[in-house]
């Protein structure tokens, strides 16, 4: 399926989709979106890039093995629960801080860290499966 058209457009397309997936991830707490959907979006971006430009190109672009990314996501998700233990509240209770950076109040929370973990897990696992399948197809 390596048509010239797809191969030319794919990098820009993928970059846009990944950017959009991060946007979806970050806005998820208030608008439709979140880590899970964002993760699926990014994973389909990588899958499409893989179809267009080949698996090795995706692997190079990702730098890390998709499963490492998934593992790191799981780690992040677990770590997000830990501050709550020190705050004397039950595990995984969301904690919020509101630093003001450049005059804008930015709400940050352990919940956001957790959502990023979910995002990475979904991206990593699904991309890993898709890439492994694409790799097999090309033999």
């Amino acid at each position: 399926m390596q048509t010239l058209l797809l191969r030319t457009v794919a990098p820009y397309f993928t970059a846009l989709m990944v950017l959009f997936s991060i946007f979806i991830l970050l806005r998820g707490h208030n608008e439709p979106g979140g880590g899970f959907i964002g993760g699926l979006l990014a994973a389909s971006a990588f899958a499409i890039f893989g179809i267009a430009a080949g698996v090795s190109a995706v692997r190079r672009a990702l730098r890390f093995h998709p499963l490492s990314i998934a593992g790191f996501g799981l780690f992040l998700g677990t770590v997000a629960g830990i501050p709550s233990l020190f705050a004397g509240v039950p595990f995984m209770t969301g904690l919020w801080v509101y630093p003001v950076i450049g005059g804008i109040e930015i709400p940050l929370s352990t919940v956001l860290v957790f959502d990023i973990g979910v995002y990475l897990v979904v991206v990593g696992s699904v991309t890993s499966i898709a890439l492994a399948l694409e790799e097999g197809e090309r033999r």
């Binding site: 707490h29 439709p32 979106g33 979140g34 996501g73 969301g94 919020w96 973990g117 979904v122 694409e134």
Partner: protein, 802 residues
Amino acid sequence: MFSTDPVIMLLILGLPFLAALLAPTAVRIFGALAGWLLAAFPAIIFLQILGLSDVISAGGAVRGGVEWVPSLNVELSYLFDGLSFVFGLLVTGIGTLVVIYAGGYLKGHPQQGRFFSFLFLFMGAMLGLVAADNLYALFVLWEMTSITSFLLIGFGNQRAASRRAALQALIITGGGGLILMAGIVTLHMITGEASLTGVLASGDVLRESPLYLLAFLLVLGGCFTKSAQFPLHFWLPNAMEAPTPVSAYLHSATMVKAGVYLLMRLNPVMGETALWETVLPIFGGTTLLVGTFLAVRQTDLKLMLAYTTVASLGLLVMLTGWGTEKAIEGAVLYLVAHSLFKGCLFMVAGTIDHEAGTRDVTKLAGLRKVMPITFVAACLAALSMGGLPFFYGFMAKEEMYYGLLGADWSFLILAVAILGNALMLVIGAAVALKPMLGDKPDHLSKAHEGPAALWLGPIVLSVLGVIGALFSGATHELISSPMASAVYGEAVSVKILGFPTYWSTPLALSIVTIALGIALFTQIDRLRAVMTSLLNTIGWGPDKGFDQAVTGLVRLAHGITSSLQTGRLETYMVVTFVFVALCLWVPLTLGGEMPDWPVFAALQFHVWAIIALAVVGLIAVVNAKSRLNAIISLGIQGFAVALIFMLFGAPDLSFTQFMVETLSVVILALAMTKLSLTPSDHRGWGQFVLDGSIALACGAGLTIVLIAATAGPFNTNLSEFFTEYSRIIAHGRNIVNVIIVDYRGTDTLGEIGVVVITGLAIHALIRIRAAKVRAVEGDEAAADLADNGLPADLTAQTEGAR
């Protein structure tokens, strides 16, 4: 020595675990000296426990502890009364000597540090087991001794025999431990107490309970496996695969006595019933005889000792079951005597093996001149084992004969005891004298006395066996009386002297035993020949039975697996969806919850259009000739559903549906291209109709369930709660996301864990298949990987799926 504050006490009891942590480093830094240094850990604990002697001798007990899991009645609490006091001294005292011995025995072994770690882990577990007051803590430590014993038996894991022995011991003692856990739960249920202190104070509650039989059988299941009672004795001789320090420590002096310990511990509340007084002596007596007979047949020093250990454990169980005051005193005396002489003899056997290069008794002779210290130790221990006057073993034998006299079955049980003891003398003499006396053959010219680390342990233990008998008053005050009182349940005072002072029936029986023993010893070669031919005639033993049972189990599992996991994807699909249909239909019809046909609201034109789109997609799926077309058509239907979600106010759901739909089309297409895209629907009409009916049943079932679910009044409590509070409490307006990452965050954590594991599994499966493809193309290394990385039936399964 130190304070008896509970926390300090627990820290001291936990010292072996610290030693286990430090041991590898200590070996690396101090080399051969490490054994001597590490021995300080058990020595400190020994002194600390010895420091409790004032309280114990006065008939008291030392208790304390901290909570562990209060909601489950589990606490780290200890109880030191006469019984656990003596066991504690044995575990740490012999432990000290064994650590020193192991320092010499495994000198220069590349994994000596690991060995010490395992040994200390065991020591900590065993010490905890005998000290534990809480039943559940006792169970945990009980299983921990099984696991550490597994590690130690399998220490020489390059040898298949060693691995088999380790696994066998783990299966039997670990399995017995699980039975014991059920027993402990039963004890807890009956008495309502989770501590030994509480159980022991419960009086006749256990004996009078209707569940007594159950508790009895379960406790016995644990004790008999651990203490190697016939017919589950065979793991113990096999465990001789372990390095000799392990045999001396675990498989004679300490761990195998855990079962006896628990029987003794529970004797005050479970004993004195007809069941107890029948079953225990029968099993114990049988084990005693079987053990001694099998010991006679062996020529390997360690195996001879191992079978007499089995016999001794039988003797202890028999005496505990007999249950009279004197029998208990005999058991208590014998337990200590056995730990002293058997620990010593094992170390002697190890030293001979280490210095002479063999432990086959027929190849050994004349070592007394080159190994004088070991010779003295061996003789003293053997005399104690034979029960001669002025030795600890004599007191034990006299007292047990006192105890066994004067009941209905005395004649029989005494005959068993006398024969067993006589054969024990035979083996003791054979182990101690055969390698030492006579002329030294040429192949032993290099044999010499071992270093101090190797003879210190034997000599200390064997001399203690003499001192204990000579100063019997002090021995009884410190050891025997408190221990016997704890086992008997009432204060008893042991009086027996270490040598005869007047004529009595037990003395006569002793003389008979010794005379019989000496007579048999002169005929030992003939006895061995008789036993060997007898066993060859039988040809089958529980050890073989164990192998047959394991093989049978594996066959059974394989049979079940291969009949359930046929490897045909179609079968899996049919089973899965038939079950789904049943789950949907059965509750509806049986529960009479068939919904009425609902009144649908009038739909607008564009909604109808979307529904039509979904239907078109469906028709296309069913009619598609090529798989790729089918997958894409399925995508059409999915997108139509996503649009419907969007129209009815579920943007999150719709968004997710879009993404999932896209990805499943991509992944399905990729997977299908790997399999085959050519139309290959080989199903006949009959199969087609059947599959179609299953599909329709599932679809219609789901529809009806949904109608039934939406027909009832909608409970708005949850949605109102989330609408009201998600902004206030969780700082988010997107309720779905707030639920996922905040309210039910821990659930999500578990779910993403599952996602990662699924990803890993699929990745591995695809990789294995890719390796097989390469193998077909001639890549040898990949072929090995594929063959070894995958069990045969799984290979068949992946091939079937293709």
